[in-house]
């Protein structure tokens, strides 16, 4: 939002042709030096939910995991499976035994193709080779635990909403796809906002602005 506004101001302040020249040359520079993420982010021109031109690629997973069945139909909380997100910087992937914990006793779906694959992995005691959907560069440290604490436990926001700030509404997807920009400017735009410190008081604070909070 902040960047779009800045763009409007810039467009107003200078002639349209000059703006086009600047953005055009920046785009060329971008293609020359940094063309990759724009291409990898879905079809060219596809936009993230929040208007950025960086929709994540469609990631083919070993099992086409239906998030919508678990979240929308069954009403399971994100943190029930993604239990590490509130305990660690990384959210990790639920252990296979957690899937089996339920599915070994859900007779109705046990012969469906996806559950057969799941049980097959369990029989072989083999970890499912899930692929990363929301990867960050190695020089960025995002801390799930801190964000879950602030938005879910301190502010009392619904889990699906709080996780969705960064992940989009995964609960309505089959396999997850990156739908938010998750770039530095995008992170900072949220850190600059005032967020209530808990569920009851009107006191607010914003996210840290120090480089080393994320770049360690």
């Amino acid at each position: 939002v902040f960047l779009l506004k800045a763009g409007n101001i810039l467009r107003m302040a200078i002639g349209g042709w000059f703006y086009a020249l600047i953005t055009g040359s920046l785009a060329i520079a971008g293609l020359a030096f940094a063309g990759v993420p724009f291409q990898q982010g879905g079809p060219i021109g596809s936009q993230t939910e929040d208007g950025y031109n960086a929709l994540g690629p469609v990631v083919t997973q070993p099992i086409e995991f239906p998030h919508y069945i678990h979240v929308e139909k069954m009403g399971i909380d994100c943190l029930y499976c993604h239990t590490y997100a509130r305990r660690s910087a990384v959210s990790g992937i639920p252990r296979l035994s957690k899937c089996i914990g339920c599915h070994q006793s859900i007779e109705s779906v046990k012969d469906t193709p996806r559950i057969k694959m799941l049980l097959d992995y369990w029989d072989k005691q083999q970890a499912i080779p899930w692929k990363k959907v929301h990867d960050e560069p190695d020089f960025v440290r995002f801390n799930h635990e801190r964000h879950v604490q602030r938005f879910i436990f301190d502010q009392g926001r619904p889990t699906r909403e709080a996780c969705g700030y960064c992940h989009g509404d995964v609960g309505s997807m089959t396999t997850a796809r990156r739908v938010k920009a998750i770039s530095m400017g995008w992170c900072v735009s949220c850190h600059e906002k005032d967020h209530r410190i808990d569920a009851v008081s009107d006191k607010t604070s914003h996210g840290p602005n120090d480089c080393w909070q994320c770049h360690k």
Binding site: A29, G30, A32, F33, A34, G35, V36, P37, Q40, G56, P57, V58, V59, T60, Y84, R87, S88, A89, V90, S91, G92, I93, P94, R95, L96, S97, Y121, W122, Q125, Q126, A127, I128, P129, W130, K131, K132, V133, H134, D135, E136, P137, D138, F139, R178
Partner: protein, 747 residues
């Protein structure tokens, strides 16, 4: 910079442009791997495993023989960092740089990942079936004539028992233990004088430590334990004093209150000079028998000073300090041992401890091990030399190497490499292909020490007795690597099924051995719980007081110094004028850690040189020979030469030149190969007269300039403090006219 014709300003401009390019390219976030990289996931992890949160497992560091207990931080199934294990009385929760680098050894890109068999002059990948068939043929040959040798580095614990088991089962004829940095001379003298190989030295109980070249803080036998003792020694109510006497400064010498440079090999003479002065004090008058007193007579201040080069007046001053700061402790290091009269030097130095009556105060006997068969076996050179003769005579049928690299470390005069070719079958166990492995018919890929089980017992234990437990910190990285212990068990199961059939692998054997040892550790826990507790703690500890040390025998012949009055053989040789000191550094030790960039990159503690060898010369010697830093020199002994760059260093005897051990590998992975030079290769065949050990510091060399000068990679700036420019204006104190200064008034 000026050599390449680029000025500093040009350089900054180029860097500026390059920097922009890099910054823009950085926008690409090429390390993002959405949809490509896999997420680490578990099937059924332990309850305490949380991705992103480290879990610590206890194990034992095997980078040297000190047996320090360590903790490995493990995350997502990967070991990331090592720390000391607070449960270990040896490490006390600390770790040294060499230990830290074990992680890098584990992840080394040069790890051997599959068995290799020599075919048509080169090593080719092979299967384990082929490898075990070859190995089995040496363990149970049809023709049982000739030696079938297992040559290892210093060993202890259950691995040692299994190696003995191989011999008992007739699967091998000899287990030879070789250590290029052996202190076998000292051990031999200690056995004669005190009845033990290695008395326990209590630095922290001493008021003054007089060390003859013992680098206990650097490349000593147990640097972490010694550093902890040293810290207590220095922090005591009355701060302990350290006096170091040596021909070339060690890290310990650099920490000493008084560093005394001495002519190489004359340490024994200096010790006898001190002894002569000591026994003249009434406190120490009756300690030595009359016959011994007479043998000290020739070592008066004048004679000692003339031979050693140490100022004569230091002797009475040092004697005063020894008396005043009692109890003292006299330590002997590598330098005095490495001469033809090494044993005599060591005995003369040990005699000081006897006169000062340090036994029972700072010099003790270690508590008896509950299982003596686990006690460490230190290696020696004599064993390798004897084996070399057998090889040369064609008496060796096979050799299996483990934890040692003699093709690199054996001096050229032995012709070990050539003799090895006469052995019909050679096999080596390695993590990285080294010089010895490259000459073998079969090379077996070892697990890294962070992937393997084991037990270790350290030699110098000052606080009870401890068996250090080694356990894997993670799954093995390469499926084709195997545990040495597992293969030993497999071979023993074939050779002695009745004794070993109960053990499917080394793990089962160790578990059974530890559980059987439970009564010695007064545990009431059930077997499984005892085993789990042992793994969790990383050590099996038994509190036991140190025992008193008694002097077994004093004989004047033990201390007799060479009549020539010089340190080493051929000291007056006109051609080979300098004494070569192959120095031992804390990070490179015998050269096995040279493949680790962390250690190559960590500056030498005294010279700050990295990634190289150097010849340390006293500035006065360099001036006389017109040598400057970086001058490329040939150091030539009677048995070869090495090419090294000069480094001017005041902490060395002017008649000596020191070159660090550890570099000069011909084949040891991408980081070690072709870095520096190996001084061990050019050693002269001089041996200690009593033990037959190689006299490592008795080689004479000639120094020749090549006329080339190359920059030495080092962290320190030019020794003229202003970096070659006038950065800070200075004025001599006597040129300051204080009358013109505004007086400072205290209000």
């Amino acid at each position: 910079m000026s050599d390449s014709g680029v000025s500093r300003r040009d350089f900054l401009q180029i860097v500026g442009l390059g920097g922009t390019t890099v910054a823009l390219a950085g926008c690409g976030n090429t390390s993002i791997e959405s949809g490509v990289e896999l997420v680490e996931s578990y099937v059924q992890p332990e309850n305490f495993v949380v991705p992103g949160v480290g879990v610590y497992y206890a194990s034992t560091c095997v980078q040297c023989g000190a047996g320090c207990g360590i903790m490995g931080r493990v995350r997502e199934g990967r070991v990331l960092k090592l720390e000391g294990n607070p449960e270990s009385a040896i490490s006390g929760g600390k770790i040294c740089g060499l230990g830290q680098a074990a992680v890098q050894q584990h992840y080394s890109p040069d790890r051997l990942t599959t068995p290799m068999i020599m075919q048509n002059g080169s090593l080719q990948p092979a299967t384990w079936e082929q490898a075990m068939t070859l190995l089995g043929a040496t363990v149970a040959p049809a023709d049982r004539t000739g030696k079938r040798v297992w040559l290892t580095g210093p060993t202890s614990g259950h691995q040692q028992i299994l190696l003995r088991g191989l011999i008992d089962a007739g699967a091998a004829t000899d287990h030879v233990v070789y250590d290029p940095l052996s202190t076998a001379v000292e051990a031999s003298v200690n056995r004669r004088l005190f009845g033990v190989d290695q008395p326990v030295t209590l630095i922290d109980k001493a008021g003054l430590v007089l060390s003859f070249g013992n680098d206990f803080l650097g490349a000593g036998a147990s640097p972490v334990a010694a550093a902890r003792q040293y810290a207590r020694f220095r922090k005591a109510a009355r701060r302990g004093l350290l006096v170091q006497v040596e021909p070339k400064m060690t890290l310990t010498g650099a920490n000493a209150d008084r560093w005394v440079v001495i002519a190489p090999g004359t340490e024994g003479v200096f010790a006898l000079g001190l002894a002569r002065e000591l026994v003249q004090r009434k406190d120490f008058a009756g300690v030595l028998p009359q016959a011994l007193l007479a043998s000290l007579e020739p070592y008066d201040q004048g004679a000692v000073s003339r031979i050693t080069g140490v100022p004569g007046d230091l002797i009475p001053r040092l004697v005063g300090m020894l008396w005043e700061h009692a109890p003292s402790l006299v330590l002997v290091g590598r330098y005095p041992q490495g001469h033809a009269h090494g044993s005599h030097n060591v005995a003369a130095i040990a005699l000081l401890n006897v006169i000062l009556q340090n036994q029972g105060k700072t010099l003790m006997r270690a508590a008896d091990l509950p299982f003596p068969q686990l006690a460490p076996t230190g290696g020696d050179f004599k064993a390798l030399s004897d084996l070399n003769q057998a090889m040369a005579a064609g008496q060796c049928r096979s050799i299996v190497f483990h934890g040692t690299n003699p093709v690199y470390s054996a001096p050229d005069f032995l012709q070990f490499s050539a003799n090895l070719q006469k052995v019909p079958f050679k096999a080596a166990w390695v993590t990285d292909l080294d010089e010895t492995a490259m000459q073998c018919d079969l090379v077996l890929p070892l697990l890294s020490p962070l992937e393997d089980f084991g037990t270790h017992v350290a030699a110098n234990q000052s606080d009870g007795t401890e068996i250090s437990i080694q356990q894997p910190l993670m799954e093995k990285l390469y499926p084709q690597t195997r545990s040495f212990g597992d293969v030993l068990i497999e071979l023993l199961r074939q050779a002695r099924p009745e004794s070993y059939k109960a053990f499917p692998d080394y793990y089962a054997y160790l578990k059974s051995a530890v559980i059987n040892a439970k009564p010695a550790f007064q545990s009431q826990a059930p077997d499984e719980e005892f085993w789990e507790d042992t793994l969790s703690a990383g050590v099996l500890r038994r509190a036991a007081p140190l025992l008193p040390l008694t002097v077994a025998g004093l004989d004047p012949d033990m201390f007799r110094q060479p009549s020539s009055g010089t340190g080493s053989a051929g000291a007056n040789d006109a051609r080979y004028r300098f004494n070569l000191i192959p120095s031992v550094s804390a990070s490179m030790r015998d050269g096995r850690p040279a493949n680790l960039p962390w250690l190559q990159e960590s500056p030498d503690t005294l010279t700050t040189v990295v990634w190289d060898s150097w010849a340390e010369l006293h500035p006065s010697t360099a001036k006389a020979l017109q040598i400057e830093e970086g001058d490329v020199l040939f150091l030539e002994s009677r048995h070869g030469f090495i090419r090294v760059k000069a480094y001017l260093f005041p902490g060395i005897h002017p008649g000596s030149v020191a070159v660090p051990i550890g570099q000069g590998h011909l084949s040891y992975g991408r980081y070690a190969t072709s870095v520096g030079a190996n001084p061990l290769k050019i050693l002269d065949p001089v041996f200690d007269q009593e033990t037959g050990e190689l006299a490592m510091y008795a080689t004479r060399v000639a120094i020749t300039k090549t006329g080339q000068n190359e920059r030495l990679s080092k962290d320190e700036g030019p020794t003229n403090l202003q970096q070659g420019r006038k950065l800070v204006a200075t004025l001599a104190a006597d040129q300051v006219d204080l009358s013109k200064e505004t007086p400072y008034v205290i209000r």
